[in-house]
């Protein structure tokens, strides 16, 4: 048991990929929970078909082994079984399609009145985040850059090549709109535990909506390989009551630093 636990059970210290991970990261949004539920529903059919086909194959090999059945039968048609093996496999995708379309259309629903809109701009090789809902005293929106912390520079406890210097701070349990666009080449803003992967295509702005259900730090990575310093994404969801103070205490100074730089 101890060996099994050592092999298969790991406790994630944060919402990031674990070594030798097989399944998805823990869901932090309803969309990701829906994605995982759909995966589990489809996996049921996968196991059903795998076990069924494997058993039939093994039994066929057993029954028609040349020692047991030295004279092979010459079967060329079987109308009934051909009809059955066409109809039943075509019914299974219908059962899969129902939850799949439900999830797809719910993901596509545009949040009419999000509380916060954040613009994520991809660069080679960092990100710029813009909180357009807030303007500073000189009427400029809150903007800061987010660079991946280099490999030889992390502090104790930080994840290698996943941490950034300035995180995206969002309030938990709040509808957010994320607008993703690049400044140069195509990028992709992806956070697995939030179920988000939104491509940044030059010349257009893509929109995605999320609502993070629990506070925490969520790690993602750019999912469109763009060169050597492929950028990390870190989203920090804070309690709603702390969000205002975080914006004023942390993000505004970051904006000023970026402006000065």
């Amino acid at each position: 048991m101890i060996v099994l636990e050592w092999l298969f059970l790991t406790i994630a210290p944060c919402d990031a990929a674990e070594p030798w991970q097989l399944g998805s990261q823990d869901a932090a949004t309803p969309i990701m929970q829906g994605v995982m539920d759909l995966h589990h529903d489809i996996f049921f059919f996968l196991i059903l078909i795998l076990v069924f086909v494997s058993r039939i194959l093994v039994r066929a090999l057993w029954h028609f082994h040349y020692k047991k059945n030295p004279i092979p039968q010459r079967i060329v048609h079987g109308t009934t079984i051909e009809i059955l093996r066409t109809i039943f496999p075509s019914i299974i995708p219908m059962f899969i399609a129902i939850p799949s379309f439900v999830l797809l259309y719910s993901m596509d629903e545009v949040v009419v009145d999000p509380a916060i809109t954040i613009k994520a701009i991809g660069h080679q090789w960092y990100r710029t985040y813009e909180y357009s809902d807030y303007n500073s005293s000189d009427e400029e929106s809150l903007t800061f850059d987010s660079y991946t912390i280099p490999e030889d520079d992390p502090e104790l406890g930080q994840s290698r090549l996943l941490e950034v210097d300035n995180r995206v701070v969002v309030p938990a349990k709040t509808n957010l709109r994320i607008i993703v666009t690049p400044a140069d080449v195509p990028h992709s803003w992806a956070v697995p535990s939030s179920g988000v992967k939104c491509d940044a295509v030059p010349g257009r702005s893509n929109q995605t909506s999320i609502s993070v259900q629990r506070e925490g730090v969520y790690y993602g990575q750019c999912s469109e390989i763009r060169g050597t310093n492929h950028a990390s994404i870190v989203v920090e969801a804070v309690p709603r009551k702390d969000y205002g103070s975080r914006v004023s205490n942390q993000l505004i100074p970051q904006t000023n630093q970026t402006g000065e730089a």
Partner: protein, 65 residues
């Protein structure tokens, strides 16, 4: 010896297709059912986690000392 072998061969009628399909489906449904039990258990644990979070019994925020 040869006659016995021929009698044995004559009595073997081969597998019943219907039975094999039914046994296969049953085995598949049992295996799929075990997977669904795991899925439902996971859903229940997730729901309990978020319910406890909502009620304030647990927290994912480390309070500042």
């Amino acid at each position: 010896m040869t006659a016995v072998h021929k009698i044995g061969q004559a009595s073997y009628r081969g597998p019943s297709i219907f039975k094999e399909i039914m046994y296969g489906l049953t085995a598949g449904l049992i295996a799929g059912g075990l997977w669904k039990r795991y899925h439902w258990n996971l859903q229940r644990r997730n729901k309990e986690f978020y319910d406890m979070l909502e009620r304030g019994e647990i927290s994912v925020v480390v309070e500042d000392e």
